[in-house]
Symmetry: C2
Subunit: 456 residues, 2 copies
C-alpha cells in the first residue's frame, strides 16, 4: 500500500490526550453553569443549505465560508451559532415556549488567514434568551451574572465585564448631530482602546466628517470616570439617550443582586461592538492581565433575531465565548491547572498470576464503585508496566500476585509518593477514591495573578 | 429584507429541546462508561485533507464523501472516526503511550440516499485500544464487558452481544478448501441471518463456486447449537482454526470474569462483519425484540490500524455505536424514558413585587445550591406565567410577593401535584432538590420488554 504522510490541516486544533481532558473539563463546567441558569442544550447540523445559512447576507464573513456542492445541493458549513439558532427558532416557532433560553457549544468554520492563535475550526459556546414580541430588561442584567459564574467556575479571577448600551451611544450621536454618520462613528470609537483618544479624534474628523470640537466632546463624554453620573447631566435632551440611561441603570442595579461583585464589571461607554444588529446592552469581557487578548466573551441585546426567516419579531440577548481561542490563550499564557488529574485512569491493575480472573474481578469491582480502572496485561517487563502508568500520570498501581491472593489482600502503590502498602481491597478502594476526589476538585484554570481581596 | 423559508437539510437530525436533553444524557452516560474502563477522550477535526483522509481508499464509502475545494486545498469531511484515529496515532506516535485507549464521540458525514432512519450527519461513539507491535488477547475479552456496561447503564436490557473470531472462519474455509474464495464466502454467510440457510447454500454454489456438499457442511458447522464444542472436533486439522478456537475460548472465559452474564452474549459463527481488516474477534450487538434494526454496536480486532500512514505495526480492537441511528430507533420504538426530567429548569421563580431584588437574590441562592433556576419577569398575566412553566415541564414554581417577604417565607407550588405551600426558603430548597434528584436517577431508555430474571 502506498503510504501518505499523516498531517492535520493548519488552523485546526488537535489536542494531546491530557490537554483534551482539560478542554473537556471546561466544556463540562460551561454546560453546568449554563444549565444552572435555566438554559436548555441545542445541537444543530454543521451543514446547512447555503440559501438558508446566507439568507441574511454574510457580510465580511461571506468570503470565509466553507461552501460546496454535493449532488444538486449548494451547502455551507455554519460560521457561527446565531444564524442556526435563528433558523431553529423560526422553523420550530410553534413548538417552542418563549422566552426560549438555549445554550449551544459546537464547532463553527471560518476560512480565515492562517495565523498563530487563529483557528478555522473552533468551538463557540453561546447562550441566548429569545422573547416572542418582547423581552424584559431583567434578562440583560442576568447575562453578566452568567458570564461571572462561568469564568469563576473555570477558575479565572482577574477578568472584568464591560458593558454599555447602544441606545446611549445613538442618543449621544443624536444630541451631537452625528446621527447620519452613526455607523462610521460607532466603528471608530470602538478603536479607542487600541489606538487612543488622539488618533480616534483625528479619524472622526477625517473619515466621519465630525467637527473637531464635537469629536472632542464625544470622546470626553465617553471617557468620563463616572459615565452614568456624566450622562445624568444630559437627561431630558434626547428620548433615546434617556431610555438607554434608564436601561443601563437598571442593568447595573440588578447585576449586583445577581451576585456580580463591583470589582468584576464596569460601565464603559467606548464599548460599541461592531455588529449592526445590537440595539441595547452590549458586553465585552477582558482578561485584566492580558488586555491584548481582547474580549473573551461578548454579546448584547438585539431587537430581531430572525427577520430574514419570519415576520415574527423575536428580540433577544446573548453572548458567545470563543472557546478554542480562549483555550489556546490560556495554555499559551500558562493558565492551565497542571495539577488536575488528566490520566485516563485512577488505577492500573497489574496481574502477577497466570489466571487473570482475580485481577479482572477486582477491576470490575473498582469500576462498579466509580474508579476509572485499567488492567495491564501486555507481555512486558515489570519495570515497563510501571513506566506505562508513570507516563500517563496514573496515580495508583495495584499488584495482584499469588501471595496477595492467598492472604486476601492487594499491594497498592501510590505512584506519586512511591509508597507501597499491603492492604485489603476495601482500603485500596477508599484510598484511591479519596485521592482522586481531591485531584478532581481543582478548576481547569489556575489564575496565577489571583490576589485575595484585590480591588481591581 | 427578502425572507427565506427556514429549513433543515434532509438526513440531518435536529431535535426538540426535550429530546436533545435525552440525547445528551445518553452521551454523558456513554462518556462515563468509557471513562470507567480507562479510555481517554479525543476530538479530531471534522475536516481533513482529502489525500490524508482517503489514503486507504474509501471503497464503497468514497462515493458518499463530502469532498470540496477551499482555496487551493482539497478537503473532505470525515466519514468515520477510525481513519482520523489512524492519522492521530501515526502523527503523534512518539508522544503517545501504548496501549493507547481512546474514546471519541463525534459527528461523521456520509452522503447516503435519503431514507427514513438513515442519516447523512450522524454521531458515532467509538472506543479503540491500540497496541504498539502487539496487543494481548485480554483486550478482546474486555470489549464485550464495555458493551454490556454501556447498554445497561443506558437502561437497555433485552440485547445480546454476538461474537465470533475471523481466524475460525478463515481456518474453516481452509479445511473445506475454500481459501481462494474466502472473501466472497465471508460476505455470503454474513447473510444467513437475513435470507436463511437454503438461500445462502444456493448463493454459495452459484456465486462462490462452492460444491453443494461443502456448502451444506459449512452451514451446518456455522449453525451448530454449541459451536465451541463442535469446533473442538476439528482441532488439530488447521493451525489458524486452532488459534481462533483458542482465542475465542479465552475471550469467552474472561468475559464472564468481566461481568457479562451468560444471557447477554452468544458465540455465533455466522457473524463475519463485512470489513476486510478484521483479523480476530468480531462483535455485533442486537436488540432481541427488534432483530430488523440490525447491529447497534459492532467492531472487532484488527492487525494494523495505520499501515497507510506508517511502517509501525499497530494492532487494535475497537467498537462503534451509531448513536444517531440508535436514538432514532429508540424514539421510534417508544423506548425513551418519558418520565426523565427534560425541563430546562427545576424551578421557576415568579416575582410579585415591584423591586425584583429579593427574587433575584433567591435565584442566586438556589443556583449556588445546584438548583437549575429561571426567573420569569415578562409582562404577562399570572396564568400565562404558570402556563410557561407547565409547557416546559418545570416541576416547581415559587411565588415571591410582599406578604411572603414580610413573613420571610416563599410560596412553593408543585406543578405536578398542584399542591401549594407557604414555607421557608430552606424547606423549598430541600423539597426541590429531593424531587429533582429522584427524577434525574432514571435511565434514558426504558426497556418495556424487560422481564425480571428472564433467561433470554
Amino acid at each position: 500500500m502506498e503510504q501518505r504522510k499523516p498531517r492535520t490541516l493548519s488552523g485546526f486544533m488537535e489536542l494531546s490526550p491530557a490537554r483534551q481532558v482539560q478542554f473537556d473539563r471546561m466544556v463540562t463546567l460551561l454546560r453546568s453553569a449554563y444549565s444552572l441558569y435555566g438554559f436548555t442544550p441545542l445541537d444543530t447540523p454543521l451543514i446547512e443549505a447555503s440559501d438558508v445559512l446566507l439568507a441574511k447576507g454574510g457580510g465580511e464573513t461571506e468570503k470565509q465560508i466553507y461552501r460546496f456542492a454535493k449532488g444538486d445541493s449548494d451547502l455551507s458549513l455554519r460560521f457561527d451559532l446565531t444564524v442556526p439558532l435563528a433558523k431553529y427558532v423560526a422553523l420550530y416557532y410553534s413548538q417552542l415556549t418563549f422566552p426560549f433560553r438555549r445554550f449551544q457549544i459546537g464547532k463553527v468554520y471560518r476560512g480565515e488567514r492562517a495565523q498563530r492563535g487563529r483557528f478555522r475550526e473552533f468551538y463557540q459556546a453561546d447562550i441566548d434568551i429569545i422573547g416572542d414580541g418582547a423581552l424584559d430588561i431583567i434578562n440583560e442584567a442576568e447575562i453578566p451574572a452568567i458570564i461571572y459564574k462561568v469564568f469563576t467556575s473555570l477558575g479565572l479571577n482577574r477578568f472584568q465585564i464591560r458593558l454599555n448600551n447602544r441606545k446611549i451611544l445613538n442618543g449621544l450621536f443624536d444630541v451631537l448631530g452625528l446621527s447620519e454618520q452613526a455607523s462610521d462613528v460607532m466603528r471608530t470609537i470602538d478603536k479607542l482602546d487600541k489606538i487612543g483618544a488622539n488618533k480616534v479624534a483625528a479619524l472622526l474628523q477625517e473619515t466621519c466628517n465630525v467637527p473637531a470640537e464635537t469629536a472632542l466632546r464625544l470622546i470626553n463624554t465617553l471617557l468620563e470616570n463616572d459615565p452614568l453620573l456624566a450622562l445624568e447631566a444630559l437627561r431630558g435632551q434626547n428620548p433615546l439617550l434617556d431610555t438607554g440611561l434608564e436601561e443601563l441603570s437598571t442593568v447595573v442595579k440588578y447585576m449586583s443582586a445577581f451576585g456580580v461583585p463591583d470589582t468584576h464589571f464596569r460601565v464603559d461607554l467606548t464599548i460599541a461592538r461592531g455588529l449592526d444588529y445590537y440595539t441595547g446592552t452590549v458586553y465585552e469581557t477582558v482578561m485584566l492581565d492580558h488586555p491584548k487578548v481582547g474580549s473573551i466573551c461578548s454579546g448584547g441585546r438585539y431587537d430581531n433575531l430572525a427577520g430574514y426567516y419570519t415576520d415574527r419579531v423575536l428580540p433577544g440577548v446573548g453572548i458567545s465565548i470563543g472557546l478554542t481561542r480562549l483555550f489556546f490563550v490560556l495554555e499559551d499564557q500558562g493558565y492551565l491547572n497542571e495539577s488536575l488529574l488528566t490520566a485516563p485512569a485512577d488505577v492500573l491493575i497489574i496481574p502477577m498470576t497466570e489466571d487473570l480472573s482475580p485481577s479482572i474481578a477486582l477491576a470490575t469491582r473498582l469500576r462498579e464503585q466509580g474508579v476509572r480502572t485499567q488492567l495491564y496485561c501486555e507481555q512486558k517487563k515489570f519495570k515497563q508496566k510501571l513506566s506505562y502508568a508513570d507516563k500517563l500520570g496514573i496515580p495508583f498501581a495495584i499488584f495482584m500476585g499469588e501471595d496477595e491472593l492467598a492472604q486476601n489482600v492487594v499491594t497498592l502503590k501510590n505512584l506519586i509518593t512511591e509508597k507501597q502498602t499491603s492492604c485489603t481491597e476495601d482500603y485500596a478502594l477508599a484510598k484511591i477514591q479519596a485521592y482522586c476526589a481531591q485531584r478532581a476538585e481543582g478548576a481547569p484554570i489556575q489564575d496565577k495573578y489571583r490576589i485575595a481581596g484585590l480591588n481591581i
